[in-house]
């Protein structure tokens, strides 16, 4: 299997004229959107505006109806692309964690490393333990997901994605399913990650995180990008009426 040729000058994510229908329901209408390497881009918007759909199109968990998407210069929307190999370089974190309940924490972190990346067992474990250390859960490697709190599960899910050594990370409302007192731990892990220079696309309702960590903020509504720019600008001085009315409701 030839390795995918990554273009180091291309943006991390480049979405061009993306349209997505579910049946007759148009969910994304001509999205143009870029994430540069090392950037943290936060996506906000009302429920049903298409944030998750856009995020899920990037690794083709959702099939775009038309338009093109490139990740590090490789066309994701190319029908002949090696999707599995491409996905192994894109970490994804879900709102509902989606840890594998029949596997221990350590096995959750090693299974894709050994089966997809073909790393040896020892190497995979070593990497898994290092990432667990990073999210502060090294002591729970033998636990099953059901025995962990939501916040711990989400940190494990982040560690699972990280142990594949991805080039970029996608987050779909990673803290929305958590009790308020557990949100902070997960956000701290994400901040550390951002500080290390990880490229991140984050769908979130955490405006504080977006303001503090984000390099760019995107506001979506009704399947289009209504406004984007520096987070402090967009949050502090929104130009579009729809942005203003959304922010007045959530802030």
């Amino acid at each position: 299997m030839p390795d995918i040729q990554v273009d180091t000058n291309a943006p991390a994510i480049d979405v061009q004229e993306l349209h997505k229908y579910f049946g007759d329901n148009q969910v994304l209408t001509g999205i143009d959107f870029e994430v540069d390497r090392g950037q943290v881009v936060c996506v906000i918007g009302p429920s049903g505006s298409g944030k998750s759909t856009l995020l899920r199109c990037v690794n083709r968990l959702e099939e775009p109806t038309s338009g093109k998407i490139f990740v590090e210069g490789v066309e994701v929307t190319d029908p002949d692309v090696d999707l599995d190999q491409l996905r192994s370089r894109i970490g994804m974190v879900f709102q509902q964690f989606n840890l594998f309940p029949h596997l221990t924490v350590l096995d959750n972190l090693t299974i894709a490393q050994t089966k997809v990346k073909k790393r040896g067992k020892d190497e995979a474990r070593e990497i898994a333990r290092a990432t667990l250390e990073k999210v502060g859960l090294a002591h729970r490697e033998d636990a099953y997901p059901a025995h962990l709190s939501g916040g711990q599960q989400q940190r494990i899910a982040i560690a699972r994605a990280l142990s594949m050594s991805p080039d970029l990370m996608l987050f779909d409302e990673p803290t929305s399913a958590l009790d308020p007192e557990l949100v902070g731990d997960v956000l701290d892990v994400m901040k550390d990650l951002a500080a290390e220079g990880m490229t991140m696309m984050v769908v979130t309702h955490e405006m504080g995180f977006a303001r503090e960590v984000g390099h760019k903020l995107v506001f979506m509504d009704g399947g289009v990008i209504v406004e984007e720019g520096d987070p402090k600008e967009v949050l502090g001085n929104p130009q579009q009426e729809r942005t203003q009315s959304f922010l007045s409701k959530v802030l």
Binding site: S88, F94, K115
Partner: protein, 264 residues
């Protein structure tokens, strides 16, 4: 006369116990205990059944059931995956198979296999003799039931599991093998064990193909001795042997269900 609800419940319970005691008494008085014992638990016949009832009959029942179950489980998994396939003809084939073997009595499948196969394929026989016939015939029936159970189990695994697996770069097949199927089998362990109990009993149908003593399983063994001794003791002993297999399995199922309830 006014009774408090609690008092009324108490009276009703006494009445229920009373009726039960009366019924037992009637049965006990009406039954001819002496005849019952000579007919069902005859101390002279019972020892004659050993050791064959264990070393041949029980062993064969377990062997036939186990082979049929394993064959049925593997085939059932294949049928379930076919049923969930995006390829139309696979789905139709699987549906036709399942509907056929679920809808037809197992007895007819046995007869069909034993007498029909040599007609359909002259000069060919299933390898493995009796064991081969039981494995395939009973396995096909079991597969039809288990296919539906396995399909339901696979569909009960949350969609997020596949999405997480695919997002890590696992192929469709790899996600099924490493993530979905192991979880599906946990979910369906109780109904699968129930299926094993049913198969244990259905293995008795093999008597229709005519068995030599060494191939004899519990029911066949019981019938032989029933006619030899003209006494029900062998049949009664055989029935107890079935319970030796099925009751522990039932207990296992109940434990698993209780544990699943607690986890919920």
């Amino acid at each position: 006369m006014a009774m408090s609800p609690r008092r009324r419940a108490e009276v009703s319970r006494y009445v229920q116990y009373g009726v039960l005691a009366l019924l037992l008494l009637l049965v006990a008085l009406g039954a001819d205990w002496g005849t019952l014992q000579t007919q069902f638990l005859n101390g002279e016949i019972l020892p004659q059944l050993f050791p064959e009832i264990f070393s041949i009959a029980l062993k064969n029942t377990v062997l036939y059931t186990a082979c049929a179950f394993v064959f049925g489980l593997v085939l059932g998994l294949v049928l379930a995956l076919m049923r969930l396939s995006s390829v139309g003809p696979y789905r139709w084939l699987s549906t036709v198979f399942v509907e056929f073997f679920r809808g037809v009595p197992a007895l007819i499948v046995f007869i069909g296999f034993y007498y029909g196969l040599p007609v359909a394929f002259p000069g060919r026989v299933l390898p493995g003799g009796t064991l081969g016939v039981v494995t395939v015939a009973l396995g096909l029936v079991g597969a039809a039931y288990m296919a539906e159970t396995i399909r339901a189990g696979i569909q009960a695994v949350p969609k997020g599991q596949v999405e997480a697996a695919r997002s890590l770069g696992m192929s469709h097949t790899r996600s099924m093998v490493s993530i979905v199927i192991p979880q599906a089998f946990r979910i369906i362990l109780p109904p699968l064990t129930n299926e094993l109990i049913l198969l244990t009993k259905d293995s008795s149908l093999v008597y229709v193909i005519g068995l030599s003593l060494s191939d004899s399983e519990l029911t066949d063994f019981g019938r032989r001795n029933l006619s030899q001794y003209v006494n029900l003791t062998p049949l009664f002993a055989t029935a107890l042997c079935y319970l030796i297999i099925t009751v522990p399995l039932s207990i296992v199922v109940r434990r698993m269900e209780a544990r699943a309830d607690r986890a919920r």
